[in-house]
């Protein structure tokens, strides 16, 4: 098995073997971050431009660290300081960046499909770091790596993904990844945050939190997007916590060896109680550690991809 894609735009187009290869490669890359000299020369002389047109701490930092540990030259653009605020189109920004011969563009954009658009017009490899509510492939990959490390497998696991499914690209990428790898997935949230198109993902859907937790090997809590509160999808944060907040008492419905994931940033006391987030069942910080290894693996594999290959 080898990885032939020039871009990583989402989990949906990937084959199970490709996902497997990325995870195996990431496992090999983990060791680099434990060295005294945390660097390998694999991407020496390559240039990466990180274009983050939406706020991000974790993902951007994680990509930058991954790039530097592979010896690439990196720079980051933020929306507030880029020419996009002067009215330049994404097309023109991309063409101008392309003219400086970067090898990779890592893109976060509030519009679904923005990285796909860039991949079509750019010679550089494009990696999707989150596009709208569509996909966040490296997050799903780091979640899978964390689950695989803790559980030894993905196949046959029961995974509950809980919260604001409607606005979550993390949930969508995870639905694709986990079902491709043979896990069974339950999507859970208030009816107002469960979009009708969920059946096409091949996941179970429920608004009953306790039922979703029943027998779960893995519980993935999603962030309630406070900035979208005005949409009135639920009456109050307090009520949300009562119905969909994960507490230790609630977690007893899951399997005794269940683990808890959260993509961050967490709202303590809303979707997850501190007593869970800070307990031994939480693997939230392992997720962050694995994020660097996964992004190193993706950069490495994509840089050996063949330009003009199928990057659907």
């Amino acid at each position: 098995m080898s990885f032939k894609r020039k871009d990583l735009l989402g989990i949906e187009p990937l084959e199970a073997e490709e996902i497997q290869l990325i995870l195996d490669t990431a496992e090999s890359f983990k060791e680099v971050s434990t060295r005294e000299i945390k660097k390998v020369p694999a991407l020496r002389g390559k240039t990466v431009i990180n274009i983050f047109l939406e706020p991000s701490t974790r993902t951007r930092t994680s990509f930058e660290i991954a790039e530097k540990r592979l010896s690439a030259d990196t720079l980051s653009l933020a929306a507030a300081t880029s020419s996009l605020t002067k009215g330049e189109t994404l097309y023109d920004t991309a063409m101008n960046l392309e003219a400086m011969q970067p090898d990779f563009l890592v893109v976060r954009h509030s519009c679904a499909g923005a990285p796909h658009f860039l991949a079509r017009i750019c010679r550089a490899s494009v990696i999707n770091a989150g596009d709208g509510a569509h996909e966040h492939p490296t997050q799903a990959l780091l979640d899978a790596l964390t689950i695989r490390e803790k559980k030894g497998r993905l196949e046959g696991l029961r995974v509950a993904i809980v919260g604001d499914i409607a606005h979550s690209r993390v949930a969508r990428s995870n639905f694709h990844l986990l079902t491709k790898m043979g896990a069974s997935v339950i999507a859970c949230g208030p009816p107002t945050l469960l979009p009708p198109e969920l059946d096409r993902f091949g996941v179970e859907v429920t608004s009953h939190f306790d039922a979703a937790l029943e027998g779960a090997d893995v519980v993935m809590m999603l962030r309630i997007q406070l900035e979208r509160q005005q949409a009135l999808n639920f009456p109050s944060l307090r009520e949300y916590h009562q119905l969909y907040g994960l507490t230790l008492a609630r977690l007893r419905r899951a399997r005794p060896d269940a683990i808890v994931l959260h993509p961050g940033p967490m709202n303590r006391g809303v979707e997850i109680a501190s007593e869970v987030a800070d307990s031994g069942v939480s693997v939230i910080l392992e997720q962050v550690t694995n994020g660097v290894a996964v992004r190193m693996a993706v950069l490495y594999l994509v840089s050996g991809g063949v330009p003009l290959g199928d990057s659907a």
Binding site: K4, A42, G304
Partner: protein, 186 residues
């Protein structure tokens, strides 16, 4: 490309491989006498079983000698020229290299490029007191100023011939073969 392969010629049978490993171990033991400093690092894939065997022979009388595993993929000098990229396996050095007498081990020395990559990788992992190179077969045609300190067997062969070493641990049997190649490109 049209490659005509001649029949394989046996270089070593199982007994030959085992005798050569014993000779290598002896030569290493005579040269690096401080066993408390000694450590082996095998280059993936077939440097690893060879390193383990050498460590086993030299450490038989006392405490086991440390053995590390090096994957040099990320240090290759041809990464920008190969697509898709080769699979990366784990590097596992479960001991501190600093001030060690390290014997770097590979099955075959050919261009020397793998050894160059391995040396760069080792230096990123620590600062050994000395690094020596042990190989089962030196087949010549080096492209870099790199030579082995301990050689099981020196071989004269053509630059495009293939030298294939097999170990019980990786291939189910011990042996070494020469696969002569009259490479005719059309």
């Amino acid at each position: 490309m049209n490659t005509v392969s001649l029949p394989a010629a046996s270089l070593m049978d199982a007994t030959g491989v085992q005798a050569t490993v014993t000779q290598l171990a002896q030569a290493i033991g005579e040269s690096l006498t401080d066993l408390t400093r000694l450590a082996f690092v095998g280059i993936r894939t077939r440097g690893v079983p060879l390193a383990r065997r050498l460590a086993g022979k030299l450490g038989a009388a006392g405490p086991p000698l440390p053995v590390g595993v090096l994957d040099i993929t990320l240090y290759r000098d041809d990464l920008t020229r190969i697509a898709p990229h080769p699979v990366v396996h784990k590097t596992e050095i479960p001991f501190d290299l600093t001030d060690r007498d390290v014997v770097l081990v590979d099955d075959v020395l050919y261009t020397g490029r793998t050894v160059r990559a391995a040396l760069d990788s080792l230096m990123d992992l620590g600062r050994p007191r000395v690094v020596r190179l042990a190989v089962l077969i030196d087949r010549g045609h080096h492209e870099l100023p790199i030579a082995a300190d301990f050689v099981g067997r020196r071989l004269e062969c053509g630059p495009t011939d293939l030298v294939q070493v097999s170990f019980e641990e990786t291939d189910g049997r011990d042996g070494a073969e020469l696969l002569p190649r009259a490479a005719q490109r059309s």
